[in-house]
């Protein structure tokens, strides 16, 4: 075609002339092309190779797994929701790809070292000031930026969130006031506001530096009648009066004396402005400790390991002790709750690097002489705290019950950059909870115990709590340099087996390290060593399967698997080939085996051999104790899948970003099923993936042992900012209906749809003929239980009422009742009966009993129960 416009001729001709002919030799052209492609291809090849070896999955597997979230929405015709899910998954994928890029991992520290050392420049997050001062850039931007209450700024923040902190705080205060709770706001300044001298020369008289809108913000709160204590004034005064720095030089937080002075001043403010009931007065004492740590801003520089440019800082703290001499701890019964961020957690939470027991709340408690409750989330922003309050209340743990005052501490920079969306604290349900608390107590929906491993004390220790009571306690003893893991409850829930090893605190060991296998009672007493050398199965902290209350399966330090009689201490080998990184762990039936990767395989106890099956993608596999199911985490942070061994059918226990889990948890790991299969426990993190640093909490939910389908929304058992992981759970009683009623919606589909649960199968009456029954379990298999149900399949000869698909019905019978074995084999195929049947899940007295269903066909078909023998 010949364009007619001379201008087009000119532009296309120009392009042809300019780039159509390049003066380059053919060999150079080929070399440039080849080298370019080689450069581009080498990175994905290396990354894919690395990802294939990574049991925890890769960004790709997470992206592919997102189909599980997108397709259901598409099938429901919810295009917008499907698009949102897909978009979020793609963004997460790209972020993960960037974060794990081999080029980035290798280049980032070195580039930062050059920028810092040679060019005296910080990073995108850290400003390198004079005389060794480091500053957090968002805090400086808050000071230099436009007023956060200016109309233009509020308008630009968009319409998706509430941009005005005054509106959000007013709403928060109003919700608290409805429940008779007061609020004190404590906006905490950043370092540059008090110590700008590392950045510029500013007269002391002009301190503290403030955002243009800060004064209006304080005035706005005062006009609304909300007490506000701004520590900036006190800190600036200290800055002028005292010779020492009020902030750490290489950390973004205040120094201990400044924090203590602010706590004292705030205590005075509260006494003056807030009418608190007398309450429980307690006298605390303070000690002295010298702590040494590396500032968080040094870590944010992300310099190469071992090539730090900044020395550790030393600070003198004053840990607070109770009257009985024990360290101060938050009191859930206290009538004052302090909400805070890392300014509250520093010197209190050891993970922040500057010791514990001497933080802001401890000091405030000391000066107020009264116990305080505390909820502090590092780097969560001002909304995270309110969101946590709401999600905890939703999960049945209302932190505001019994409170009279909430102190809301947050970093001032959050006023400019934080999300101030309004959060509904669930006042109605909370009021209900309050009434419930004051009314005669109803039996809790579940009773039992959970154990898990946590680094909340600095070292990894085994922790425990009752399902029905909030108190958490450390069970395993403190011992230097040893870390505890792999807690497993005995079938009767009376004892815990765990490993004590010398391993790093901050990462999984490269090779599995053996340590001492111990057992102790759930009250923490009676600890004794079982085996000197035992280890986990690799790629996760699971090391033991209790076969019954006496015997357990463990992996020896030599890579062989053993069966140990805990009463005699005698072990017998279950395998003959020592394994390396991944070693075999058998289930209670000794028919299945798995190692640290989901290689659910057959085990032959006679020949002591494992017939290894193909590995499924994922990690952290384990078994249901009835020998029917395996389950594991399929991708990075979910989903949690199950496999039914008899049929090979794959199910899903928890989805990625499962909406049933409170608090928008992004990563789900550490799945475990209770011994009776009625309760499912897991850990989940709403923030990052890291198993050693992220804020994983423990959740539990009732589960249908027949199908491994959750029967209610999971509830949060722990809410500590440290890592809580690898739980085990024992159930003494459970009322699934009450649980489900309190935590609706109960199914994944309902949670996603926000609607009501689908109608259950209806009762059936029919003339039936017995066709076949599940394999009768051995005594050993059912020995942990007092009750068990066996499923048989019946052919419908005449349907009297109800429905029966394909003319077949699966009906459960007692196999074990009250510890007595029932005569389930006395009826042969061909036996006829007229039965009135009810759906198994609708029969209260059978809910949650272990069901043995090894029939090969249609395991998803509803199971019925006949009340008549």
């Amino acid at each position: 075609m010949a364009p007619h416009d001379p201008e087009f001729d000119r532009r296309e001709a120009q392009a042809l002339r300019e780039v159509g002919h390049t003066d380059i030799g053919p060999r150079t052209a080929r070399a440039v092309t080849g080298l370019f492609l080689l450069l581009l291809l080498s990175v994905p090849v290396l990354e894919i190779r690395r990802d294939l070896r990574n049991a925890l999955g890769s960004p790709w597997s997470s992206l592919l797994a997102s189909g599980d979230r997108v397709w259901p929405e598409l099938r429901r015709g919810r295009l917008h929701a499907a698009n949102r899910e897909l978009h979020a998954a793609m963004k997460d994928f790209e972020d993960a790809l960037d974060e794990t890029s081999i080029v980035g991992v290798a280049a980032r520290p070195e580039i930062q070292r050059i920028l810092t050392r040679k060019l005296n420049t910080g990073s995108e997050q850290v400003i390198r000031g004079r005389q060794g001062w480091l500053y957090f850039r968002p805090a400086v931007d808050h000071l230099t930026g436009p007023g956060f209450l200016e109309p233009g700024v509020l308008a630009r923040k968009g319409h998706a969130q509430e941009p005005n902190p005054l509106v959000a705080i007013k709403d928060f205060a109003a919700q608290l006031a409805e429940r008779g709770i007061g609020l004190v706001v404590v906006p905490t300044p950043g370092k540059a506001a008090i110590h700008p001298e590392g950045l510029a020369s500013v007269s002391d008289a002009r301190l503290p530096l403030q955002n243009l809108s800060f004064k209006h913000f304080l005035e706005g709160l005062t006009e609304m009648g909300i007490p506000v204590y701004a520590p900036a004034g006190r800190l600036a005064q200290l800055r002028r009066e005292k010779p020492w720095a009020q902030f750490l030089r290489t950390d973004s937080h205040w120094a201990p004396p400044a924090m203590e002075a602010v706590a004292e001043s705030l205590a005075g403010f509260i006494k003056q402005h807030v009418a608190l009931p007398e309450g429980r007065r307690t006298t605390y004492s303070r000690g002295e400790a010298w702590v040494r740590g590396r500032g968080d801003l040094v870590a944010l520089l992300r310099l190469p390991k071992g090539r730090q440019l900044y020395a550790e800082e030393t600070a003198r703290t004053q840990p607070v002790f109770r009257e009985d001499g024990r360290p101060w701890s938050p009191d859930p019964e206290a009538d004052v709750l302090v909400l805070g961020d890392s300014f509250t957690n520093i010197y209190s939470q050891e993970e922040l690097g500057f010791g514990g027991g001497a933080g802001f709340v401890e000091q405030l408690s000391y000066y107020l002489s009264r116990p305080l409750d505390k909820l502090a989330i590092n780097a969560g922003g001002p909304m995270a705290l309110r969101t946590r309050l709401a999600s905890d209340a939703e999960a049945g743990q209302d932190r505001l019950v019994g409170k009279r005052l909430v102190i809301y501490q947050f970093a001032e920079r959050g006023l400019s950059s934080g999300d101030w969306s309004l959060v509904d604290l669930g006042a109605a349900s909370a009021s209900q909870a309050e009434r419930t608390r004051r009314a005669p107590a109803e039996p809790p929906p579940a009773q039992g115990r959970a154990v898990w491993e946590s680094n909340r004390s600095g070292d990894w220790r085994i922790w425990s709590r009752r399902l029905e009571a909030p108190a958490v306690r450390k069970l395993s003893p403190d011992e230097p340099d040893r870390q505890h893991c792999c807690a497993h409850l005995s079938p009767d829930g009376s004892r815990i087996a765990y490993l004590s090893r010398v391993v790093p605190k901050d990462q999984y060991p490269e090779r599995e390290v053996a340590g001492e296998l111990r057992v102790l009672r759930v009250d923490g007493s009676g600890e004794r060593s079982l085996v000197a050398q035992a280890r986990p199965y690799g790629w996760g902290n699971r090391a033991v399967v209790w076969r019954d209350n006496r015997e357990l399966v463990y992996i020896g330090g030599d890579g062989l698997t053993y069966l140990l009689d805990t009463s005699t201490g005698k072990s017998s080998a279950l395998t003959t080939d020592p394994q390396g990184k991944l070693a075999w762990l058998m289930d209670a039936s000794l028919r299945h085996a798995v190692n640290g990767s989901p290689t659910f395989s057959s085990y032959d106890a006679a020949s002591l051999t494992v017939d290894a099956s193909e590995r499924k993608p994922g990690c952290e596999p384990y078994f249901s104790h009835d020998g029917r199911f395996g389950f594991w985490v399929e991708g990075a942070g979910g989903p949690v899948r199950s496999v039914e061994f008899a049929t090979g059918r794959i199910g899903t226990i928890l989805e990625n970003l499962d909406p049933r889990i409170p608090g928008a948890q992004r990563y789900v790991y550490f799945p475990m099923l209770s011994r009776d299969g009625r309760m499912f426990a897991f850990g989940a993190s709403a923030g990052d993936h890291d198993h050693f640093k992220s804020n994983y909490d423990i959740f539990v939910s009732p589960i249908d042992p027949m199908t491994l389908t959750l029967l209610g929304r999971p509830r949060r058992l722990t809410s500590h900012p440290a890592v809580d992981r690898y739980p085990d759970v024992h159930v003494e009683s459970i009322n699934v209906e009450q649980w489900a009623k309190e935590t609706k919606p109960v199914t994944l589909a309902d949670a996603q749809a926000g609607g009501s649960p689908p109608p259950a199968a209806r009762p059936v009456e029919a003339m039936v003929l017995l066709r076949s029954c599940s394999r009768a379990p051995s005594l050993r298999e059912i020995s942990p239980y007092r009750d068990a149900l066996i499923v048989c399949e019946w052919k419908v000869q005449k349907l009297i009422s109800g429905e029966a698909a394909d003319g077949r019905l699966r009906i459960a019978q007692w196999g074990l009742r009250g510890g007595e074995r029932q005569a389930i084999t006395s009826r042969s195929p061909g036996f006829e009966a007229r039965l009135k049947l009810e759906p198994l899940t609708g029969v209260a007295q059978t809910d949650g009993y272990p069901v043995f269903d090894t029939l090969p066909r249609d395991p998803s078909r509803p199971v019925y129960f006949s009340r008549e023998p």
């Binding site: 007619h4 780039v19 390049t22 380059i24 960037d98 400003i127 530096l209």
Partner: protein, 480 residues
């Protein structure tokens, strides 16, 4: 997905290139189209439907407008035929402009209406809905591109494409889809039908891509860091204000010209040759000269499809000035739905009209060349303040700070350390040197002996390493 991302460089690009060259010629456009939709949908999958809708409308309109084009030129069209062709052209232009106006200007319209009726004390007339419209990526580019096709076919400058896949490939081609250059159908029509793939072209494409990526990652991003600090501050001293404006001038130039270089380079890798989009704009000696060198694909588009249809300079001087002003105001609005862009366009339009009145000479044509370049650059730099500032009052404050009339809060003293880091100063200095001393990519890559090829690889490698270590990576023109 942006060009300077891990996903694009290491996964998307090699994947698309690999399959493209493995496929036979006939299905390569289909593959390129599908890949381009994935590239586009990565920003938001829902937007793919919108682009498909625009593509279908223009494809059908093109076929309908050009259905009788095969007849010999001496055969005149009937009145009915002319009306029919005009109707289809109107359908194409109206649908494209409707999409553009709805997605780009709805929010501004609602906000302005709300503010006006509020100011007039008529709150009852304020809209009682809270609908906010998300701006689909690159809609300004592909609607212009798509519209030019229908207009070119109508004018007889191009024959309609019969293959829908070829047309969809033209509209969606990922190298230039979301930030230009705006490719007119006439410029690639022949290449869509037939083009060559050679190592020579590919190597030149690698050079373009490497230099473009280096401009973006090594120069635009650090300059952007400095510019953001200055423009996001509540107040600043004159030094910080001028340094911020200078940094922004470099940022927008290297960001956009770097993107254009990468687009041209990627086009070459797929056998396409796209026209030049930048021609050393900061060498301009007048504003008229500047607009011959800056975003050439937009300025020529506005000239051919707006300025000339308005009458250009054929209807007398006064009408010419009005036309220039109108075109630049609309050009400003094309960049975004804000009063800032309108003022920016108006200033350029007025300046162009003034120079036109002086016979296309600069106001300072009496000065030696360096003086003319310096003054033009300074004027452009001042207008960039409106382009970058968050709103009109913000632009006013910024300009006041530049001349020392703004009040300076003590907090502004902190800005210096943020802005004047050695890394930032070195980046600004290198950006200045490259702007005024280095040859432009087109000229530099015309000859690619081994040392230059090696230098291109050094730039590429440095850019890739820095790309992996930077979190700050905005593309300015993605939002237009």
């Amino acid at each position: 997905m942006v060009f300077s991302s891990h996903l694009f460089v290491y996964y998307f690009l090699p994947g698309v290139l690999g399959v493209y060259y493995l496929l036979p010629g006939k299905v390569r456009h289909l593959w390129l189209t599908l890949s381009s939709y994935v590239f586009y949908g990565w920003a938001n999958p829902a937007f793919m439907g919108l682009m498909l809708l625009s593509t279908v409308i223009d494809y059908v309109a093109g076929l309908k407008i050009g259905s009788r084009q095969e007849r010999p030129p001496e055969v005149l069209l009937s009145e009915r035929e002319i009306r029919r062709r005009k109707a289809w052209l109107a359908a194409s232009v109206t649908s494209n402009l409707s999409l553009l106006f709805f997605f780009k200007y709805f929010n501004l319209g609602v906000d302005t209406w709300t503010a006006v009726v509020g100011a007039l004390g008529l709150p009852g007339l304020q809209p009682d809905f809270t609908l906010r419209v998300a701006l689909p990526l690159g809609i300004s580019f592909y609607t212009f591109q798509s519209m030019s096709y229908a207009i070119d076919v109508y004018r007889g400058h191009a024959r309609p494409l019969k293959s829908f896949v070829d047309f969809a490939c033209f509209v969606s081609m990922f190298p230039q889809l979301v930030a230009g250059p705006i490719i007119r159908f006439s410029e690639v029509a022949d290449q869509l039908r037939s083009r060559t793939h050679t190592f020579e072209k590919f190597a030149r494409g690698v050079a373009f891509f490497s230099l473009g990526l280096a401009k973006k990652v090594l120069l635009a991003n650090p300059c952007g860091f400095v510019a953001d600090a200055a423009f996001d501050a509540a107040s600043r001293g004159p030094l910080e204000a001028w340094m911020g404006a200078l940094a922004y001038a470099f940022q927008i130039y290297f960001d956009f010209s770097g993107y254009s270089d990468m687009a041209i380079g990627l086009g070459l890798m797929f056998g396409f040759m796209f026209p030049k989009n930048f021609d050393s704009p900061y060498f301009a000696e007048s504003i008229t000269d500047f607009w011959r060198r800056w975003h050439i694909s937009l300025s020529t588009w506005l000239r051919d499809y707006l300025y000339l249809p308005l009458g250009g300079n054929r209807k007398g001087p006064r009408r010419t000035y009005v036309n220039l002003l109108v075109v630049m105001l609309l050009g400003g609005l094309w960049h975004g739905a804000s009063w800032n862009f309108l003022v920016w366009g108006g200033l350029h339009g007025a300046w162009l009209a003034l120079e036109r009145a002086l016979g296309k000479r600069g106001l300072y044509s009496f000065l030696p060349r360096p003086g003319r370049i310096l003054l033009t650059f300074t004027g452009v730099l001042l207008t960039w303040v409106f382009f970058r500032a968050p709103d009109l009052p913000g632009a006013g404050r910024y300009l006041a700070d530049m001349v020392g009339l703004g009040g300076r809060a003590p907090e502004a003293a902190l800005l210096g350390v943020v802005m004047f880091t050695p890394y930032a100063l070195i980046s600004l200095a290198v950006a200045g040197l490259v702007t005024w001393l280095a040859p432009q990519t087109w000229d530099w890559s015309r000859r690619l002996p081994l040392p230059r090829a090696a230098m291109a690889f050094v730039c590429l490698s440095l850019a890739l390493v820095m790309m992996a270590s930077q979190g700050y990576n905005p593309f300015i023109y993605f939002i237009f």
